[in-house]
């Protein structure tokens, strides 16, 4: 079952994340056009060759998203996908693109995550923003509107803190080990010029002395929201062979979707990544110790800790000593989020999730620059949506 590893990431566009955008707002469709052009240029592929797109929502249209984009770009496609899996969306789009290519549906797929601010309408509609409660839906009839939002159980900090608290009750909690994840990743960010926290080193003490936001999570264990944008090009074998860079072949994936709100998890500590990672490794025919780097979703430090465990790099419950014993920086013995992670690079909306893919691909392409992992051939990537409950695992490989 699964992919044959005959589709690859061949082009990357990624805008520098900015906490306070220095350029004016850009409509999402315009971002799509610019990101697509940059990613195709990077690969050396002509826009006329694009025959597939994977998108998330766009500001200019609530529905009919793919056709709105293809019309704007002036392209015609055989594969048009919208994915709605939060932070797992981009990783989910990568395997969908690879699968479509291997099925022979298409040959060149653009995946974009435009996350730059859009211009506001001159007469904005009144009423509360639909994003008032983060990812929690306040729509009429929504279970969250009735049973979670009234108790303040909204947005992301609260749910991840509940997960971390449960983890601590089960396995014990080592705040210094969790803090070290942010510190090690910051070392890599300090060697990655586009990172929002480039040249801003931190220590474990800095993390533990930063304000407690939701027990047991400190401010420096939480991603920094940014503006940005990213796109990649996924292409079939023949196109990949004539593209500009060493292709990053997509050899395995897994996807698992459970619930939306942690309250209703079957088992809060048994995340969707466990089956997703097993499937990805089985499909690729790779073992954990063949992985040269991991590039895993890191909205919070607890996300990284549980990902390392649930992807099978150490036994469950032993992540904290594992993190203490290993150097997670790009030059360490267990390179993890070598671009700095979203904790160090910044979280530009869905482009934050894309950054784990661009970084994994960049490393396998040997384009890591100052933060290149030596001889990087196999990268393990995750996307994480919601509250650890939507998980996608990917394996990228060089030739």
């Amino acid at each position: 079952m699964g992919l044959r590893g005959e589709a690859a990431i061949v082009g990357i566009a990624e805008w520098k994340p900015e906490r306070r955008p220095t350029a004016p707002p850009i409509f999402t469709l315009e971002q799509w056009a610019q990101l697509t052009r940059e990613a195709l240029d990077d690969a050396g592929i002509d826009p006329s060759e694009v025959d597939g797109i994977c998108a998330t929502n766009i500001r200019e249209s609530d529905s009919f998203v793919p056709s709105t984009i293809t019309e704007y770009l002036g392209i015609q496609v055989n594969f048009a996908e919208v994915v709605d899996l939060g932070g797992a969306s981009c990783a989910a789009m990568v395997w969908r693109a690879a699968a479509a290519i291997e099925l022979g549906l298409c040959n060149v797929v653009v995946i974009a995550a435009p996350s730059w601010p859009s211009p506001r309408p001159p007469n904005p509609p009144s009423g509360p923003s639909s994003w008032r409660y983060g990812a929690s839906s306040a729509n009429y009839g929504s279970p969250q509107a009735e049973f979670d939002i009234p108790y303040g159980n909204v947005a992301q900090n609260c749910g991840y803190a509940q997960i971390a608290m449960k983890y601590g009750a089960e396995y014990g909690y080592d705040p210094e080990a969790l803090a070290k994840i942010a510190v090690d990743q910051r070392v890599s960010a300090n060697h990655n010029p586009p990172a929002v926290f480039h040249n801003v080193p931190i220590t474990v003490e800095d993390v533990l002395n930063s304000p407690m936001i939701a027990d047991p999570i400190h401010m420096l264990e939480i991603v920094m929201p940014c503006s940005g944008g990213a796109a990649i090009v996924v292409a079939g074998k023949d196109v990949a062979r004539r593209s500009k860079h060493r292709p990053a072949w997509i050899s395995g994936f897994g996807e698992r979707v459970l619930h939306k709100t942690p309250t209703y998890a079957k088992d809060l500590l048994s995340t969707a990544l466990i089956p997703a990672a097993d499937q990805a490794f089985d499909m690729a025919g790779r073992s954990r110790d063949e992985v040269d780097l991991i590039s895993v979703y890191d909205c919070y430090t607890i996300t990284v800790l549980m990902t390392i465990e649930d992807a099978g790099f150490c036994p469950r419950g032993e992540g904290q000593p594992f993190v203490r014993e290993h150097d997670l920086s790009f030059r360490g013995d267990f390179p993890c989020n070598t671009h700095g992670g979203q904790l160090g690079f910044g979280q530009a909306g869905l482009a934050g999730g894309m950054s784990h893919i661009t970084e994994g691909a960049r490393q396998v392409m040997r384009r890591g620059g100052d933060h290149q992992v030596r001889d990087a051939d196999v990268a393990f990537i995750t996307g994480n949506g919601g509250l650890m409950s939507e998980q996608v695992a990917l394996i990228l490989e060089g030739d």
């Binding site: 983060g134 306040a138 108790y151 159980n153 900090n157 509940q162 608290m165 936001i213 939701a214």
Partner: protein
Amino acid sequence: MAADTPQRPVPTPIDRTRPFWDGLRERKVRIQYSPSSDTWVFYPRSHAPLTLADDLEWRDISGEGTLYTYTIARRPTAPDFAGDEPQIIAVVELDEGPRLTSTLVNVDEDKISVGMRVRPVFEDIPGSETTLLRYEPAP
């Protein structure tokens, strides 16, 4: 914790869920039960999760349970909750099995622990027909 005011989000019951909210108004915890699979269900649904049986019936329970997990939010989790911090946002596992979202009241922060026994506290929200189900430590 500051009293809830009408500015706080309050639930808008739908026909399907109204027996639960009516129960809270009567100081009862009333949830659904599926006889065909002998399982209890929360939140209220049209069909039982997993089996999709449409035999759900309402039953009163004690509402007591254990604290499955929690957090203490030091910053408001949304602008609407400004002034409520610290919010002790809990997941309670009912003795019948299902879990629900609540907040802990009448408790010292350092006396909270995962697994502790908790019992219902019914809070009528002024200016609304709503009663929320909060929890406190069981003696």
